[in-house]
Amino acid sequence: MITDVELEIWREEWQTEEAVPDSLRKNVERQSRLMKIGLVSDVVVTVILGGGTTAWAFLSSDSSVVLVAVATWLFLAAAWIFVLITNRGLWTPAALDASAYLELSIRRCRSALHTVWFAAGLFVAEVAFGLSWGYLHLESRKPALQWLAFSSIRMDVVWILTTVFFASLLWYRAKKRSELEQLVRMREETDGAKEIRASLS
């Protein structure tokens, strides 16, 4: 019997797809849903913040409010550029097999870790801008350090929110790092198993 080599090669390629573990697949699907929700939230935030500060600049007699609107749009643009670049290629797995799902999860984790740094930087820049703008618009100017150090309820809120934000970022970073370690370990085990299978066949 003559073996049809071409058909055998195609058959092997066709059937090499590994089953995707349920937990991995569910995790990827859940992340995809969260990414969609995140994108919708980003649009809402852009409309509210960008539109709000623009409207404020138009209605206000204070010309420095224009600066707030411009800065807000710059921050929003930076955030959008980052989101669009980091989300590229993260929406669907490249194939329907376990390795592709695993790779996608790993890349999503790495992207989340980059996002932590970007979010921290952006937040610091926004708070720095907000505080500087606020300080320059004080009617009775206090020394800056005294003003910054819990001089009013507004400042208390700023510091409490900052603390909560950074605590959440640290928690999220630790969670993503441990998830990444686990996924990388899983990939190493899968690759190891493949090598063993290959050496036996």
């Binding site: 390629e13 066709w14 090499t16 290629g89 669907t92 490249a94 329907l96 690759d191």
Partner: protein, 168 residues
């Protein structure tokens, strides 16, 4: 056959033929959720037909015949009748280096997309051939003669070659 034995047989069939059924469903649908829907419909149809299965044909023929019937129903229900290949997916290579795993996956993905792009009559025959079915089994699944299977397979291979060439 009692319900417990049927359930056991059903679970065994899904475990044994699940990956093949998944590949088959993928070849007829345009998204992961559609593939899952079709897979679920197929599983349900197998469950319904199982009490009537008397072993007139092999279990594999029985399973693939149901899967193909469900796929045809799905296609006739779907708005897009023609083969509508998925967008060319860019396969990212996170670990550049030896060819191996990455290029294997890329070749497999290209093959899947090429199969999806074939006209239905040829897609059916090549799909079953790639799943390891012989002429006789394919003729039983599709309800066509063995010589017809041979003729379709020859044409399907030519078309598959052309489709793969285009994707090079």
């Amino acid at each position: 056959m009692d319900r417990a034995s049927l359930k056991e047989q059903f679970e065994r069939i899904l475990a044994e033929h699940g990956p093949a059924l998944s590949r088959l469903a993928y070849s007829y649908t345009n998204s992961l959720s559609d593939r899952d829907d079709l897979l679920q419909e197929t599983a349900f149809a197998i469950w319904q037909a199982l009490p009537g299965f008397r072993g007139e044909c092999s279990e594999r023929t029985f399973v693939f015949r149901i899967a193909h019937n469900r796929a045809i129903t799905y296609l006739s229900r779907s708005r897009e009748h023609r083969a509508d290949p998925l967008e060319e997916v860019e396969v990212h290579d996170p670990t550049p280096g030896p060819e191996s795993e990455y290029s294997r996956r890329q070749r497999a993905e290209k093959l899947k997309l090429a199969v999806r792009s074939l006209p239905l009559a040829y897609r059916q025959v090549i799909l079953l051939t790639l799943e390891g079915l012989g002429y006789k089994e394919i003729s039983n699944v599709l309800g066509i003669s063995e010589s017809n299977v041979g003729a379709r397979l020859t044409r399907a291979r030519q078309l598959l070659h052309e489709a793969l060439e285009k994707r090079k």
